[in-house]
Amino acid sequence: MEPNALAGIRTNPLFVALVRRRRRFVACLTAATLLPYFAFIYVAGFMPEVLAARFSAASIVTIGWPISVVLIVGAWLLTGLYIRRANGEFDELTAKILAGEQ
């Protein structure tokens, strides 16, 4: 029974839409995680003086510290963004597909 159900889903336009949307979303999020990270590593390796700028005139804290906090918190927020859309849009589509809607 299962292979037939699976075969039916494969051609379901809703399934095709789900796959396409999720793929694009995941690609964006992955890029949004990796590009800043490797850019950061590149700057830290080749242009460390960029990170030496002061956070503000009155502060001794260099810009590198808030940037690393932003990298960590930002990556975490991206996981939240993914869950938001997956729990809403993607799960609704999946439920429709499993219920046999076209």
Binding site: L6, R10, F38, I60, T79, A86
Partner: protein, 557 residues
Amino acid sequence: MNRTSQFLIISVLLGWATAASAAPGALEAVEKQPINLTAIAMFLVFVVATLGITYWAASKTKSMEDFYTAGGGITGFQNGLALAGDYMSAAALLGLTSMIFFNGYDGMIYAISFFVAWPLLLFLFAERIRNLGRVTIADIAAYRLDQNRIRTLMAFGSLTVVCFYLVVQMVGAGQLIQLLFGLPYNYAVIVVGLLMAIYVTFGGMVATTWVQIIKAVLLLFGGTFLATLALAQFGFSLNTLFEQVVATHQSGSAVLLPSKLVSDPVAMISLSIGLVFGTAGLPHILMRFFTVPDAKQARKSVFVATGFIGFFFLVVAVLGMAAIVIVGKNPAFFEAGQLGGKLIGGGNMPVMHLAKALGGDLMLGFLSAIAFATILAVVAGLTMAGTSAISHDLYVMVVKKRHADVASERRVSRIASVCIGVVAVALGILFKEQNIAFLVALTFGVAASVNFPILALSMYWKGLTTRGALIGGAAGLVSSVSLVILSPAVWVKILGNTDAVFPFDYPAIISMNLAFLFAWLGSITDRSYRAKRERDDFENQFVRAQTGLGASGAVSH
């Protein structure tokens, strides 16, 4: 700072490795300290509590599914805490703070590198793994490929990772206990081996999960509490803290910036590839996704884990910076009272000294007990992964061809967990005096070059065939092991040659790509009937990975 000392630091961060200090290039023996009764008492409370949980978990573990995956009944939040507990090792607490203590901003760069794996694990792996697997990661690759050969390969990949990582943890545990509790090394290793075997044998995944959850909560609580005490010393002003750090640290204002540590970007990229994709291939992390009921809870697990791990790393940054001022100015923490000299107890001790300075013996004892509890939780998770690879993959699926009865499977799982405990204790004692830093590179190298490529290709590439997976997995295994042997950590440090044949300590940049290349080559040249069927089966696997259809339901076999 040269690559070798950089490697030692990474090893200490990841897994404790040797008595390697985070101070540049220094290798020092760990000295036994006076017996620390507070720490031992607090640790005993933890042990009694976890044994109580194991007793309770044993009554809840009826089927094999309960044993392997806690019956899929762990919630996303609980599993997130347990995942964080698996990843936030004692080494992260001690190693990262000491890295910041000695090298300032460089420690922050490493913290970020350790962190990046987690969002990717969510975007690319978590849901699909939950939808396709039931007990072990071999289930995923074996979905459409040849059961026997793929399971055998994946089970050996998992067992290799588990064993290397266990040895690292055991040696770390032994040294930590000598240092913090004042007990002999061998006793410590035996206690760890005994406890982990008890948790897994009697309590299975339920007990293992709760040990990890309790430990994660203790670690987060202890770290945050200490960071709050530390910040209070600076009037809760980061600016004041940073001003004093610059005034205290021998590098002056350079401590706030990256040093030469990351001057070799290729080495850094090889390291981050090893960390990111190695994490995505660690069997004890991945199998946690089978303990939740569905993809939604799997997602939530990673969100929760990522939040806690990120928070913990930020806390660690505060601890390290505060230690520069508070520990760095106090001669009581340096050998012979020599400020800027060797730290008492070795380079991994800044956070422990900080605890003592801020909260006295009670805080020191508390943090010591947490550090030891942390090791116990990680080894229990590893043992669970190794046990299921043996009893589920090798015994039931390969040897008995799915025709094993539950009683014999149960018996094999018990024997397996006890054997893993014995092997871990034996290797822990055997490697006592050895430089085992390279084992961390091996662990992550094999995870990134065998487990990860096969899992990723089987889920994402229609063309993968059994032949391709076997050839690719073998290429990844052989190349990662041989590159580690040719690396500075083994070729120069252990074998005593002058120059390393392979310049980097982390092999993943080469070995992972070789694994992908050979898996691809082996697959596209495969013209057999079976290969065609395996490619055709991809569509069904893909639907299940995307929708979870057929993923829920009992795992009876």
